[in-house]
Amino acid sequence: MSSRPELQAPPEIFYDDTEARKYTSSSRIIEIQAKLSERALELLALPDDGVPRLLLDIGCGSGLSGETLSENGHQWIGLDISQSMLDVALEREVEGDLLLSDMGQGLPLRTGVIDGAISISAIQWLCNADKSSHEPRLRLKAFFGSLYRCLARGAKAAFQVYPENVAQRELILSSAMRAGFAGGVVIDYPHSSKMRKEFVVLTCGPPSISSSVPQGKGQDGESCSDDESSGDEEDQTVCISDRHRPRKKQKVTKKGRTRQWILKRKEKGRRKGNVVPRDTKYTGRKRKARF
């Protein structure tokens, strides 16, 4: 079975009581969520004037990402489809307001009231058709259309996503562009398979200087445009294996086959009961050059 939760069950069923609790009690997930929401907030590029904003957290779950927003002094509205996750959020007494809602049905919000939106690992759920009435294209359209309406002019949205493949990424982006957003994908650490994180950064309104897509973190000096990094997954594996690993090499030479190391290995062999030559003054000595 796949490890992607998107392929196992619809979100409102996958995140049941046990899964919701598991999700929120894992310190690893909490840390990752905090880091991702910190970065998403950074990508929103809100003006630094100390005035709290009204933000939207789409797929807020148990409010892990919202906590970061509260810490930065913002008010937020959290939206999730899973009742169990929201129950955990209530228990944790998060500061934001919670809504039980399906983002694929459009956001039930008034026009132009929200100052920014973040979403951590949620948008890719829209690419699934979990019910017979679900059509990913229409759900994405409803979502981005309503998001465009409820965001204030010039407001930004930063969504961290785990697209399953290139097609999903294209589907998400093209739906956003069709709704009128400007923006693109920011990839942090594109060369690391573990730390690689993708953010869709969108600006409400026509393209301008302020809506240019910010740089991803951890990119090397060489050009790394969106097109290039969104290439085949195989390319990236090659890229990783091609990297020099000087430190590792150094380690090998440093260790060397010193006398001490050889004695240790021989001792180990003896303990295992192998036939090992005895230790003499010649053990581990270099041969002379003329040999």
Partner: protein
């Protein structure tokens, strides 16, 4: 659900042209202490639909707000801000329902969370 959120919520049932404001049916109201933040209130003031806030506050049993939509000069008055703060952020609808003004469809509110999920035929 605080009135700040009520002021932002709008019914998004297919075919509904003006889903705002949602009518409130009250079963249980709570009052929660929230830190006073004048900067946020001043910013939100321009986004709030005054009529909707006034009606909602009255439904929840708070009648201290001025009836006419005040102009922005009142934002300097601390007394007004305190009332505004109380109505917007401290009144909390714990149990009840929101009613779509056009279709009369009820969105239940349980434990302070409005259930805005639509049925398949409403999307």
């Amino acid at each position: 659900m605080r009135l700040l959120i009520h002021n932002m919520l709008s019914s998004n049932i297919k075919g509904v042209i003006n889903g705002f404001p949602l009518r409130i049916e009250v079963d249980k109201v709570e009052e929660k202490q929230v830190d006073f933040d004048a900067a946020f209130l001043r910013k939100m003031f321009h986004k709030i639909e005054w009529k909707a806030l006034l009606d909602a506050a009255l439904t929840l049993g708070y009648a201290e707000l001025p009836e006419e939509a005040p102009d922005s000069s009142v934002l300097e008055s601390d007394e007004f801000l305190q009332k505004f703060h109380h109505a917007l952020l401290e009144l909390d609808l714990e149990e009840g329902a929101l009613v779509c003004p056009e279709t009369g469809r009820k969105f239940p509110v349980t434990k302070g969370i409005p259930n805005m999920l639509l049925h398949e035929d409403e999307v």
